[in-house]
Amino acid sequence: MRFARSYLIAAALAFSAATHATAETSLLNVSYDPTRELYQEFNAAFAKHWQAKTGEAVAFKQSHGGSGKQARAVIDGLQADVVTLALAYDIDALHDKAKLIPADWQKRLPHNSSPYTSTIVFLVRKGNPKAIKDWNDLVKPGVEIITPNPKTSGGARWNYLAAWGYALKQPGGNDAKAKAFVAQLYKNVKVLDSGARGSTTTFAERGIGDVLIAWENEAYLAVKELGPDKFEIVTPSLSILAEPPVAVVDKVVDKRGTRKVATAYLEYLYSPEGQELAGKHYYRPRDAQASAKYAKQFALVKLFTIDEVFGGWRKAQQTHFADGGVFDQISAR
């Protein structure tokens, strides 16, 4: 019995230690897969900045996963002070499904609330053995593609829309031809992971597939981390301007009393230091100065926006990725 009692006390102590680690101000940033390295460094930079400016210490907690999955978790009650997700629609969902933020959240910060941009490129094996130069090389027979599932991954949706936009903008392109092109492309997909990082691991670590369709920053990171002697980045002739947006989750910050620091945190992403870090982690900065500094790093590519080709995220989501949408029709065949 004595053993049982000391056991209970130990368990209770451990339990309280695990739950009461939040004495100082802490912010939870719920983000998507490829931003891990960026926010690791940015959080430290902001904590220093905030300490110097206000004298308050701020600690950060990070959660990463597929963008759609992360949005779902916040809707289900994950107490995120800020969300930094892969695409606007996933943040729209926080308003549509749970009224956590106002409908016009995207107007609260400059550049559609996207402090940095990216695009979609290809990662191929060294020497490019399948000679992949552009989107139309992906639909050739025998090319094995790795891309995540558009249902769960934000990056995957950008991949899909980039391919669609490319087909649409070819001479004589129309919706029917684009649909056939994208269907052909997904026939060549070998593994459909749930998140962007999972796809990168499948391609780079497990050695499956000839080409990975990936975020530009994810592709650069993979080359840097896993060996420049193993992979090459191929930039297609045309791609999509990917704008990963950020937002303060109003309901959470008002309850936790963290609105001020959370807002400052996101604004700091637009500061010279934030922009510098974005460039360093292979995102395309918005700021002219940081842009110029990192211009050499990125290949020149013609970019189209989701608004001009698809009429915005809500419409693209409805047409392509909703249940029974074009992606379902393609994959059902």
Binding site: A14, A18, D76, A222
Partner: protein, 302 residues
């Protein structure tokens, strides 16, 4: 005919009896083939991955290995895993004994239904187990708004992880005890009751000694699963580093961060847990066998 009679007359262990006679023995090549298949299968699918985990973990040196294990996020994952097991295993111990007792010692309607329900976590995918709790306790779920209003966190916090773990490890103890207690019958307990022992006394002095090895075995398996569970916990965790990451989830995160040495270092801890579990399990089986043979000898003497 003579061969058969000798075979039948051979004393002792039936396992070796057929081996001793040329008439009933398998041909050597058949024996070797079967042995070879099972051993190479074992080496390829079990031993090799296990060795690979430790090899990868230590490939960059002991310093890297230790640094990975003493990283604050790793420590917090280890702490959370131990805490979860420390809550889930005792709960399932109590439940398992109660359920096994109810099923084997009492008669009531719906007994078979109860047995079926105990097995439910075995037949349900762990992901579903996690989603059940999101549906019930999530912000959009049945109790979500009330919990949120009272500032009680269940999902994406430690209680949710414990709940999911309890769910998936639910059957281990009960499943281990039910057949054992069924085989032992009710006579000894009935005798104790007739002789005037209280319910507790009967349990401590009659039932518990009979089931202790089976009980320990169930607890060991329950603990191994509690510490290793990935699917259900992944759904309810929220993946907040240093807060709601258990060891299996932390392994995945490290792996996804291209931090392979650290991922395998944490994985090696889980692998060691598996090895310890195996050793303890073998010891318990051995003890239980000793116990059983001692009892049967005692029975023969009487």
């Amino acid at each position: 005919m003579a061969g058969l009679t000798t075979a039948l007359r051979l004393p002792g262990n039936p396992d070796t009896r057929y081996e001793a006679s040329a008439a009933t023995r398998e041909k050597p090549w058949v024996k070797r083939l079967i042995l070879g298949i099972s051993l190479s299968f074992f080496a390829l699918f079990l031993l090799l991955p296990l060795v690979a985990v430790f090899f990868e973990a230590l490939r960059k040196g002991v310093d890297v290995y230790l640094a990975a294990l003493t990283d604050p996020d790793a420590l917090s994952a280890i702490r959370l895993t131990l805490l979860t097991a420390a809550i889930a295993v005792p709960l399932n111990l109590v439940f398992g004994i109660a359920a096994a007792w109810a099923i084997t010692k009492f008669d009531f309607r719906g007994k078979h239904l109860l047995i079926t329900f105990i097995d439910l976590p075995f037949s349900v995918s762990p992901v579903i187990a996690g989603l059940i709790y999101v549906l019930v306790f999530g912000a959009q779920g049945w109790f979500g708004p009330w919990l949120l209003a009272h500032d009680i966190k269940i999902i994406f916090a430690v209680p949710g992880i414990v709940l999911a773990t309890v769910f998936v490890t639910f059957p281990f103890v009960a499943r281990e005890l039910i057949p054992l207690m069924q085989a032992q019958g009710r006579e000894e307990e009935e005798a104790a009751t007739v002789l005037g022992a209280s319910g507790w006394r009967t349990f401590w002095n009659v039932t518990l000694p009979n089931i202790k090895w089976g009980l320990l075995y169930g607890v060991i398996l329950c603990n191994a699963r509690a510490m290793g569970e990935f699917g259900a916990v992944s759904v309810v965790s929220g993946h907040i580093r240093g807060l709601t990451n258990t060891m299996p989830l932390h392994v995945e995160i490290l792996y996804n961060e291209y931090n392979f040495a650290a991922a395998f270092a944490v994985a090696s801890l889980l692998a060691m847990l598996a090895l310890v579990t195996l050793v303890v399990k073998t010891f318990i089986e051995w003890q239980a066998a000793l116990n059983a043979s001692a009892q049967s000898q005692k029975g023969q003497e009487e």
